[in-house]
């Protein structure tokens, strides 16, 4: 075997009192794409930042091809060795798509002058390779999330580096886009490019990687060929315990005699038209579809984040107020919004306060928040949802992604909603936390709450009594519990079933 492409030897990294990495190691050999998995907060992204020279390790060493890593200041040397799609967006919103593709390496026309003409042409070419149908001159900030992610991927792959790191590249993509990414990765692998791939979707690991390294609690646990590590063993390595994975619902648990809780009729809005549907008490309804299907806009309309242009929604006999989250909450609608960083959490505030933000008015008289009641509420939420935190007073931005997501869930549940709308509830959440979150859904469903899960991840949809698939802004298909994966996937992707 040739010299390893990249090696991390005994690296450690602390942030204040948090140990993000302790004596971690990683060896990637050329031609063998490597998966890096672990629970939220295991230290994966931290390791990525060390491998790409954004930060220096506190201890240990990074080596490329047997040579010591270049000094941090020499960004060009790092860029020649490794390209990366970071977990956090590195799009500059006010620049054009074209310029984002070539930040700090814009094509020049002589005398150091940037050639915008060439930049546009080369940008267009790059986007075409990926089938990204956006204008090179569009403002990157105006792009949809998935397009932005594709731009980042296209940029990272265009650096010409022989080693490419992808940190949760698929979290924002729909199935079609993921397939395109994988096809491209395979082509690049054939031409000799090696990937380090991070994902919480374990099946993807098996699909594109040959080797896997598991991190747990900042430490290296195991490195092995994926073939030697079946899914159950992989999960065990990640969580430190044997976990039985949920089976999913096989048939609907609500009969036709159960009263309807939410009746939507003829609803039209930003990206959907004339949608009608009904959800019964205690029913879990899945809403799937590609990113352009309008499912998110529909969900956001139900919870008051958007105002639909027509139609109505009735909850337990009363019309749902639109465009006003406060009134939607009062009417009994709870919500986990699509992006916890954007609409979910106030990073500087504590876990307790974030979890009680929707019920601040109920924690004391005259709007005063009684600290004891806030604490009691928060402790209950922490216990119920198994949130890993020092306590209710810890700022929520100190939590790992999965635990942050649980806090958003706690916030939605705090009002004891009659209708719970979960948009991408497990995005970026590790397998174990995913189980926990979905278990909560099952518990509140049993209490009579109706739940709508908006996702196109099959694991999220398994607890559903019914799954509706949206295409081009309207409901295209309905699958009762017990659906087959490939049928659902085909429908989401718009491939007609035979």
């Amino acid at each position: 075997m040739s010299a390893p492409l990249v090696e991390a030897i005994g690296v450690g990294k602390r942030f204040g009192s948090t140990v993000a990495l302790a004596d971690a190691r990683l060896t990637v050999v050329p031609g063998e794409s490597h998966a890096l998995v672990g629970r939220n907060g295991a230290g994966k992204s931290t390791l990525v930042s060390l491998l790409t020279g954004l930060q220096a390790p506190d201890g240990g060493e990074i080596r490329f091809g047997g040579e010591p890593a270049p000094p941090l200041a020499d960004r060009d040397a790092w860029r020649a060795r490794v390209a990366c799609v970071y977990q956090r967006s590195t799009i500059v919103p006010d620049l054009t798509v074209g310029e984002n593709l070539f930040i700090n390496r814009q094509p020049l026309a002589g005398f150091g002058r940037i050639s915008w003409k060439r930049l546009r042409a080369e940008g267009r070419e790059l986007l075409d390779q990926w089938g990204v149908e956006v204008d090179v001159d569009a403002r990157a900030g105006d792009l949809a999330v998935e397009d932005r992610q594709l731009v980042e991927i296209a940029r990272a792959l265009s650096y010409g580096a022989r080693f490419i790191i992808l940190d949760e590249p698929t979290a924002q993509l729909d199935n079609n886009e993921i397939e395109r990414l994988f096809a491209r990765m395979r082509a690049l692998q054939e031409s000799g490019v090696t990937f380090l791939f991070i994902s919480h979707h374990l099946q993807e690991v098996y699909e594109v990687c040959q080797t896997v390294t598991v991190l747990r609690d900042a430490r290296w646990i195991i490195t092995a060929p994926v073939a030697d590590l079946p899914r159950a063993a992989l999960v065990e390595a990640m969580t430190g315990e044997a976990t039985a994975l949920g089976e999913g619902v096989t048939e609907s648990r609500v009969g036709p005699d159960v009263p309807v809780r939410l009746a939507v009729s003829g609803l039209s809005g930003d990206a959907f038209t004339d949608v009608s549907l009904a959800v019964r008490r205690g029913e879990v309804l899945g809403l799937a579809g590609s990113s352009a299907s309008g499912k998110i806009e529909l969900a956001e309309s139900l919870v008051g984040l958007r105002t639909p242009s027509g139609g109505s929604a009735v909850l337990d006999g009363e019309a749902l107020p639109f465009g006003d989250v406060r009134r939607a909450l009062d009417a009994g609608v709870g919500c986990v919004p699509r992006d916890r960083h954007h609409e979910g959490l106030v990073p500087e505030l504590s876990v307790g306060e974030n979890s009680a933000m929707t019920i601040a008015g109920r924690l004391g008289k005259y709007g005063v928040i009684a600290p004891s009641r806030l604490r009691a509420h928060a402790e209950r939420a922490i216990a119920d949802l198994d949130i890993r935190t020092e306590g209710p007073g810890q700022p929520v931005n100190a939590l790992s992604g999965g635990n942050q997501q649980k806090v958003v869930m706690a916030r939605a549940l705090a009002t004891d909603p009659r209708l719970l709308v979960l948009i991408n509830p497990t995005a970026g959440v590790d397998v174990k936390s995913k189980e926990a979150l979905l278990a909560v859904v099952d518990r509140i469903r049993a209490g009579g709450t109706s739940v709508i899960i908006i996702s196109d991840e099959l694991d999220d949809l398994r607890p559903c009594d019914r799954v509706l698939v949206m295409r081009h802004g309207s409901i295209a298909d309905e699958f009762p519990a017990g659906w087959h994966d490939h049928d659902l996937v085909a429908s989401i992707e718009g491939v007609t079933r035979d």
Binding site: V346, E348, L349, M357, A360, G367, G393, R411
Partner: protein
């Protein structure tokens, strides 16, 4: 740990007080302490107002102009035309009420431009600062207003337990605001909005309404600050409040209120105000050369900032 940043200034403040006690034996006298408090009361009100706005992630520079225009309009409707008034000679109570109302209205106007029209708060309030300064000159025709009835001065001239009412008022305002920000959901809503407005909205907080309310309250508080100032100096000069915003921002930020919203406490802001008050008093008592006093004052602010930075160990960006 979290409490620490609120108290970041306390060491600097203590050091200054000890220094002051050495420099001049009168520094720690009862009378001098009252003087420091009395002279800081108006600033304190405006710092409180600005802090509320900063916590929501906005800014209002025009509060300094409110300190001038609000009491001036209140006075102009009360005093006779012979004293440069409008000649309306409305009752004193109406004039006093008008001060707060004008403050609130200016706040509402700024709030409207920022919240509804989504204009940048810094620049809108900068423009308003210029407009209001101009209006003050225009409304008073540049005159200094002297002949107000006694109640216009009462906040600074009347004392309770030997301490001016203005100081009690400022203390009460800080107490109420502090409690409110810590324990009331509306107060907490300010932090949520400053920390992440989208999340606040998704959690059912009426972001626009709360923001508008904060602008209005801040305007009203600044009007009150202007009234205190009027009592303290015994007149309304067409320059009243001019350039005060520099000190207001300095006090707030030295006191740990984050410029980008979501962070800061009333106790911190209060130490910021006191620090500036102590510095000014101390430099005067020490009879530092009048040519250098300003730069020394600025330097002390700068050092206090660095101390706050070091003790909290946090970047201030």
């Amino acid at each position: 740990m979290r409490r620490l940043r609120e108290l970041a200034l306390v060491p600097a403040l203590v050091a200054l007080i000890v220094l002051g006690a050495f420099v001049n034996e009168n520094f720690l006298s009862y009378a001098n302490i009252i003087s420091i408090l009395g002279s800081s009361a108006a600033l304190a009100m405006v710092v409180l107002a600005e802090s509320l706005i900063l916590i929501t992630g906005k800014i209002d520079l025009s509060l300094e102009s409110v300190v001038g225009i609000a009491p001036a309009l209140g006075a102009l409707v009360v005093i006779p035309a012979a004293s440069a008034g409008f000649g309306l000679e409305l009752p004193t109570a109406v004039g006093l009420a008008l001060i707060v109302v004008v403050g609130a209205l200016v706040g509402a106007f700024n709030g409207f431009l920022v919240v509804k029209l989504r204009l940048n708060a810094f620049i809108v309030s900068l423009a308003m600062l210029i407009v209001l300064r101009g209006l003050l000159v225009g409304a008073t025709k540049g005159k200094t207003l002297f002949d107000m009835p006694e109640p216009f001065f009462a906040l600074a001239t009347t004392t309770f337990l030997g301490i001016p009412i203005s100081v009690w008022l400022a203390a009460a305002a800080f107490g109420v605001a502090g409690f409110f920000l810590r324990y009331h959901r509306l107060g907490r809503a300010l932090y949520a909005i400053g920390g992440n407005p989208a999340a606040a909205r998704a959690a059912g907080i009426r972001v626009d309404r709360v923001l508008l309310g904060v602008f209005v309250v801040a305007g009203a508080l600044s009007g009150l600050g202007g009234l205190i100032q009027t009592g303290y100096v015994g007149a309304i000069n067409a320059n009243q409040g001019a350039n005060m915003i520099f000190m207001v921002m300095a006090a707030a930020v030295v006191g740990g209120i984050a410029m980008d919203g979501g962070r800061g406490t009333m106790s911190g802001a209060l130490t910021g105000v006191l620090l500036l008050g102590v510095v000014t008093n101390l430099l005067t008592l020490a009879q530092v050369s009048s040519f250098w006093i300003q730069s020394i004052q600025g330097a002390i602010i700068l050092v206090a900032l660095m101390i706050a930075r070091v003790t909290t160990g946090r970047a201030q960006e």
